[in-house]
């Protein structure tokens, strides 16, 4: 990551704005009700163009898989090593990449997690923590 952080486009702005307000949102197709992340302007199910709503997620989900980086491929992460990266599936279905705010040895596939937004770089990231 360089100083400029994440590139925010017209397409992704509602996603980052929602997170800045403490909510994670995914896209829902108005034509076929399919739900997805990451942001795209075409429905990956029925291919409708620009015909979606941003739907607030419950913030609940579970860990699909996870890893721990012992090497900082990106120098910006040098101080964080060893740090975890996880794939989380939301209760509503869409999946995303994330970091879990919990000691690495407590992570398991299937672990129930809740949204724990974290300001980093130029945005608020959808991080997660173990469900309370």
């Amino acid at each position: 990551m360089d100083e400029s952080g994440i590139e925010i486009t017209e397409l992704t702005k509602p996603y980052w704005d929602s997170l800045a307000g403490g909510k994670l949102s995914f896209q829902t197709c108005r034509a076929c009700a399919h739900k997805w992340l990451p942001a795209r302007d075409t429905c990956p199910n029925c291919l409708a163009l620009d015909d979606y709503d941003w739907t607030p997620a419950s913030g609940r989900g579970h860990v699909v898989s996870w890893v721990v980086y012992h090497t900082a491929f990106d120098p910006a992460f040098k101080a964080r090593v060893p740090y975890n990266v996880a794939i989380v599936e939301l209760a509503e279905g869409p999946r995303l990449i994330t970091n879990l705010a919990t000691p690495n040895e407590t992570i398991k596939v299937g672990l129930a997690v809740d949204l724990a937004p974290e300001p980093r770089f130029n945005v608020t990231l959808p991080c997660f923590k173990p469900a309370s």
């Binding site: 990551m1 898989s65 980086y69 012992h70 090497t71 990106d74 964080r80 990266v85 995303l96």
Partner: protein, 375 residues
């Protein structure tokens, strides 16, 4: 088309560090060696099919290679399919010749990430992924490795068994870049890179090039090619680009690719004498053994510990060392070893290697291609 097309020649450069060489120059050297192996003149080549170098993209790369080879082909293009591309190009060459579009094809690949630019290896796929530190191919493969552990209780010893078989074969291959065999103790003692993957789960980074000459079996007879190896079957399968979106992380489309190739060849797993399976990470070769139907999921470790994946066992794996030991080149070394096994000229020769299956795959297990060679 079963057996109607052959690999007529194989050639490669040295593997490891080749500083100062361009990828075009390495492609020419490998192709010159492949033409010599086939015993034919370059003037016969009318198709130049290239896997684009991974570390640096150039426009009209197939044409750049053709020009350096001094040939004016009917067909020439560079494809981008990650590590599955070379086997896919072989199948495209066969279909092109079958359709009368060309007659003699070169399939080649060169790259120099070891002494050149390897920035692509550590890069995040998107700026959003980068914000979580989800960088490098090892991240995606690590997710798959972890999912395999969670689903099947796969142990470190099981992953080690794959690496140990490949390293054992590399140790007695004069061309191998890494000739040190691997013990279980050394595997376990090595540091994690992206946990749960340790150092020896991860393939080499190598400069080098390889090339093949493809033609019909009939043409090979007319040209008196000394050791043509018939292509019995091929297939492909593709799954999601993003690992995050894959319905089940422990399944790729290798199963579909294998079935297509087995059906074309008219054989099944029990007929296979050796496998050359893409092993950029140990979990990849493990899942190929499972998805191709050689082992039940989760049983590869036990299978390997019986010595069955070694030369002398019933299913030798990566008999020249694979990406973990021979060279990190994305795929063609596996095809060339398949050719040598069927010819009977391999450094670690399997007795009566009549049928050899090669897998190539790329991205983060998104692309997969299968090739079956044999007499």
């Amino acid at each position: 088309m079963r057996g109607k097309y052959v690999i007529a020649g194989i050639g490669h450069t040295a593997y490891g560090k080749l500083p100062g060489r361009t990828t075009v120059s390495m492609n020419v050297e490998a192709t010159r060696n492949a033409l010599r192996d086939a015993g034919i003149e370059k003037a016969l080549v009318d198709a130049v099919l290239v896997k684009a170098p991974t570390s640096a993209r150039e426009m009209v790369y197939g044409q750049l290679v053709s020009e350096a080879l001094g040939v004016v082909p009917k067909w020439s293009f560079a494809v981008d399919q990650g590590g599955a591309a070379n086997v896919s190009l072989i199948s495209i060459a066969c279909m092109g010749i079958e359709a009368g579009q060309c007659d003699v094809a070169v399939v080649c690949y060169a790259d120099n990430p070891r002494t050149g630019n390897r920035a692509f290896m550590g890069r995040a796929r998107t700026s959003e992924a980068g914000a979580f530190g989800w960088a490098a191919a090892a991240g995606g493969y690590g997710m798959i490795h972890q999912a395999h552990i969670a689903e099947y209780g796969t142990r470190p010893e099981d992953f080690a068994a794959i690496a140990m078989a490949c390293r054992k074969h590399g140790a007695t291959n004069p061309d191998a870049q890494l000739k040190a065999p691997l013990t279980l103790e050394a595997y376990l003692a090595a540091p994690f890179v992206v946990e749960p993957m340790r150092r020896d789960d991860i393939c080499l980074v190598s400069d080098g090039a390889a090339a093949l000459i493809i033609m019909s079996e009939k043409r090979a007879r007319e040209l008196k090619v000394p050791a043509p190896v018939p292509i019995l079957g091929f297939g492909q399968g593709q799954t999601t680009t993003e690992v995050t979106q894959r319905p089940k992380l422990t399944e790729s489309m290798a199963k579909v690719s294998a079935k297509t190739a087995f059906d074309m060849a008219g054989i099944g797993p029990k007929d296979v004498d050796a496998v050359q399976f893409y092993d950029c990470f140990t979990v990849v070769a493990m899942m190929a053994l499972e998805e191709y139907g050689f082992c039940k999921p989760g049983q590869v470790g036990a299978f390997a510990r019986e010595g069955r994946l070694e030369v002398g066992g019933d299913l030798p794996l990566n008999t020249s060392g694979g990406l973990l030991s021979e060279t990190g080149m994305p795929g063609l070394q596996l095809v060339m070893e398949g050719v040598r096994q069927v010819r009977g000229t391999a450094a670690n020769q399997v007795k009566n290697a009549g049928k050899v299956v090669v897998s190539n795959q790329g991205g983060q297990m998104q692309t997969h291609a299968t090739l079956i060679l044999g007499a």
